[in-house]
Symmetry: C2
């Protein structure tokens, strides 16, 4: 057991009332917060002093690490308009060429970039299971193991959202066979998926969750099996849902119901369930998700980049849906940009301001994500939570001059990843003074990307 203490001159512990407190002492025991005291005027002897504004660790609830390799490379020549589906072809081309060593190196650098941005837990939505030709690796979990090792080395907590992918899409009411590149993704059936996933090995800072790629890639019977696996293992269950209108149309044609309706019909919804995106949900979809206390993981910078549209985040909250946030395609890795984008894009769609409070937005970026990823109670500075927290420096021109009462709004509306000074994961300092303690992130990114 290792014990340590931190003293924060100003901190938000996660209250939705948005209270910022001074002199917050966080006692850590074996990676977990043992006690929190406030209004402690001076740092206790031996405590690590965190100057700036400390918040719970940020959760990136939806990541495809390998897509970091696409940053800056899919913007076309400008006057050629493209769609989400054409972007997907470019993404598939990248997915076709990566091997376990390349995945390990790319994920390690990308996860390290996330920690520098203040992210303390990532949900990696992982579906590159096989050799490029579709045959199994000797260890069928070799790719997943590479991702788990990358997270461990980067110092980030991880939920491996191990993804079932069985079909090549829905067309005219029927499932298409897998395309060549999609054969990397498949376990052939849900039973083989379950057998493989049950064998994934985890450490103290990792766990496994289930993912249904989408209703395009998983049939109803398989959805049921995956949902049962998640229930049986008390694991989170994620699925891409209604990112594009076409998915809704195809699902309706095939099953007479929306993707959310189909997932509900086959037992997937509930409080362990996270719908990723949810950009094009109907009112009744939102009601179904809310009744089950499900989460929607918004990925606003990706949804902007891929021209998905603006999801109805305000209506979700009103209906009882929890929110989480994800960097998804890694076009940007900045949880503050994701948080403000939820509110700002709602403003663009509605002509009104103030749909979500700064505390609610930062709550989605912290506790909402921890809950979605199967670390309940995490993402708050309270006893019993994982000892994960992030400190923002207040000496950049972006943050300078914020009063205590404006710190939360400043963090949401003005901070960037570049303002993160210290990151603690499981009680260990992974980022200090803006530098990763063991990885030269830029050098590794350069090596793996060029």
């Amino acid at each position: 057991m290792t014990c340590s203490a931190f003293w924060c001159d100003q901190a938000w512990r996660g209250s939705l009332a948005g209270v910022v407190e001074s002199g917050v002492v966080i006692d850590v025991d074996d990676g977990v917060i043992a006690a929190v005291e406030v209004a402690v005027a001076t740092p206790p002897p031996g405590a690590t002093v965190l100057r700036g504004f400390t918040i719970p660790g940020l959760a990136n609830a939806h990541s495809h690490a390998f897509q970091r390799a696409l940053r800056g490379r899919t913007e076309g020549s400008g006057e050629n308009r493209t769609t989400f589906w054409e972007w997907r072809d470019q993404m598939y081309a990248r997915a076709a060429v990566i091997d376990p060593d390349g995945m390990h190196r790319l994920a390690r650098a990308t996860f390290a970039e996330m920690v520098l941005a203040g992210i303390t837990v990532v949900g990696e939505f992982h579906y590159l299971h096989n050799h490029a030709d579709g045959t199994r690796y000797d260890d069928p979990n070799e790719m997943g193991a590479a991702i788990l090792a990358a997270a461990d080395e980067a110092g980030i907590r991880i939920t491996l959202l191990d993804t079932c992918y069985l079909h090549g899409g829905l067309d005219s009411g029927r499932y298409r066979p897998l395309s060549k590149v999609q054969r990397r993704f498949t376990d052939d059936d849900a039973e083989q998926w379950a057998t493989r996933v049950s064998a994934v090995g985890c450490g103290p800072q990792s766990r496994v969750g289930a993912a249904i790629h989408s209703v395009r890639a998983v049939d109803p019977e398989s959805i049921e099996q995956i949902a049962l696996w998640a229930d049986h293992h008390d694991a989170p269950l994620h699925a891409h849902v209604s990112e594009q209108p076409l998915e809704n149309e195809q699902c309706l044609a095939a099953h007479g119901v929306s993707p959310t309706g189909l997932l509900h019909r086959h037992g997937a919804l509930g409080d362990r369930f996270t719908a990723v995106h949810g950009t094009h949900l109907s009112d009744s979809d939102v009601m179904l998700l809310g009744e089950g206390s499900a989460t929607v993981c918004l990925c606003p910078t990706t949804e902007r980049d891929l021209a998905d549209g603006i999801g109805g985040a305000r209506a979700m909250v009103v209906s009882g849906v929890g929110l989480a946030l994800g960097s998804d395609s890694q076009s940007v890795i900045d949880p503050f940009e994701e948080a403000r984008a939820v509110e700002l894009d709602q403003r663009l769609a509605s002509g009104q301001r103030g749909h979500h409070s700064p505390a609610a937005l930062l709550g989605a970026a912290t506790a909402g994500g921890y809950r979605s990823l199967g670390w309940p109670g995490g993402g708050r500075l309270v006893a019993g939570a994982p000892a994960d927290f992030t400190t923002l420096a207040l000496d950049s021109p972006r943050m300078a001059g914020l009063r205590s009462c404006d710190l939360l709004a400043g963090a949401v509306y003005a901070a960037t990843a570049a303002d993160v000074s210290t990151v603690v994961v499981g009680g260990a300092i992974v980022v200090a003074e803006g530098h990763h303690d063991r990885i030269d992130v830029a050098a590794e990114l350069r090596e793996v990307l060029t």
Copy 2:
């Protein structure tokens, strides 16, 4: 005459074809680019070496410096929805309490923050002319002089867009009298405005332009007088146009025509004219602006923040309108975020990608803004242009690993203000290694904001 030379390992000189060149030597003579040579393998003796990615200086074509004091302070308690007009009340409260010394200090810190973000020229849309009670200062240009001094000290080029503001709004087809706070803004009539503005003194890195606050605040006869002044002085002419639907409705009720139509009818449109925002333009408005080769200055981060909506930037370009960008309310000061927001918000509105090329977006942020602010030929790395340029470091996790062919897209879609390493204005290095050469920006912001 002072001569100097710079050697850039990689640079974009401003071509819309998006060409990135290596070994670019920029010779500077008396603040102006004297010659540019490319493919120079090693730095000439005595040349300043700029490692990274050098681009023309960024133009912030629409700024209200004093609104920097509102950052993080108008986000409300979240569940209370507010509108643009309620935000304006908060802004007015701030406008009511600032004096020339306070303006000087706030503008100096804010302009210094802009230079740190790579901005080399600012258009300050200035209308706080009088004492708070509406009486003139002894020197009626005292506030403007404070702003010009602030820009000079911060090392930024400036166009003071000196603004005429005569009425308190349009209501039921008639101009309302000025409210108490609006009496700070007024010259009583356009003739007195012209007399005052003609007396503003400028230096080599400053000039004066004209601004019509809006059709809400300036009547048709005065619009004509201001447009004539701008023609006579060969000065840029700016106006807030159609930021909110209510302005369109009020203008139609009063004048039977849109704000753009009214400005056209009274001689304001043309290639010296910049419509700020243009969020709610009709097709015929856009056609009128395009026929005159006018500019629209988009302020996307402010338009998000104030829930204005998404302007039709693609249609503007197709119609021959030039684009420029502005930080406006200073909720964010990041020209890269503004540039990508133009494209990304178009994607949200349309469901399609690729409306504007990265070179076009960065062109709006550079040459488009210089043109709008009355520095024609500026914002390009070509002989005869002002020697203003900005270098992005490539060693942050955001930018690391971009290939030369992806640098432009990377600058637009991944860079932030925090990635700016060097800024040169008029041949002088104002920012080196990310630090302002004479101002402790965070300390001054803290002092003036708290």
